[in-house]
Symmetry: C2
Subunit: 116 residues, 2 copies
Amino acid sequence: MKISQRSQLLKGILEGCILSIIKMQPTYGYEVSMKLQEFGLSDVSEGSIYPILLRLQKEKLIIGEMKKSDTGPKRKYYQLTTEGEIQLTEFIHQWELLKQPVDKIIEKGVHYNKNK
Amino acid sequence: MKISQRSQLLKGILEGCILSIIKMQPTYGYEVSMKLQEFGLSDVSEGSIYPILLRLQKEKLIIGEMKKSDTGPKRKYYQLTTEGEIQLTEFIHQWELLKQPVDKIIEKGVHYNKNK
DNA sequence: ATAGCTACCTTGCGATGCAAAGTAGCTTAT
DNA sequence: ATAAGCTACTTTGCATCGCAAGGTAGCTAT
């Protein structure tokens, strides 16, 4: 998520959402998947999430730390780095830049329908 | 854009936008690229658009027809098929289903920032 | 005739989402 | 104790997508 900006955003929505979720509160992968469900992104599988977490970690946007759990196996808690915060801000900006045109385009298409 | 629903949507936003633009009015590829710019999707190249148009045509969501132009080479005007209308409606639905959670996730992340 | 615009098409790459399958710790029931 | 089921993390491999780059060709104006 460095060089190519918008184009990546088109497929990188999940990445930004995960950054935002981690920002709310340090979290581990399994909980991320449950939070995404709560928010309404119900069909995002762990096969998507964990690779993203690893990638984000490799890019130093988040850092992970293993912690014991009372109720199950150890968890890897992630939190944002400064660079991660910057990238999240950038993501939000790009998301707005994408959303507005798309909404406009859709609205105008639907509107045309009504005049028919 | 048949079997896999949401996952395709994540990368298929452009496809839906092009369907919507064609719905407004039968259009040819070059004009689609200019309309996308007008709407604010300024960095979408023809290298993205034409493959999509060909794909949509192959999937029978649009049909094309060559017409002479007064001001340049012939244009291939596309218009939606019935199936294309259905898919566009489906796209809009999926877009809403994507947008709302993402907005919520972003909002909550930003909100957390303020309480800091 | 040559430059520049209009208009279309193709190739090839990198990135992504995700199904699928695997590993392993912990808890509860049998 | 041992099987079942949940929690939690990881890897592999595939299909798809966006797009830069390059190519073709008609039309218009200089």
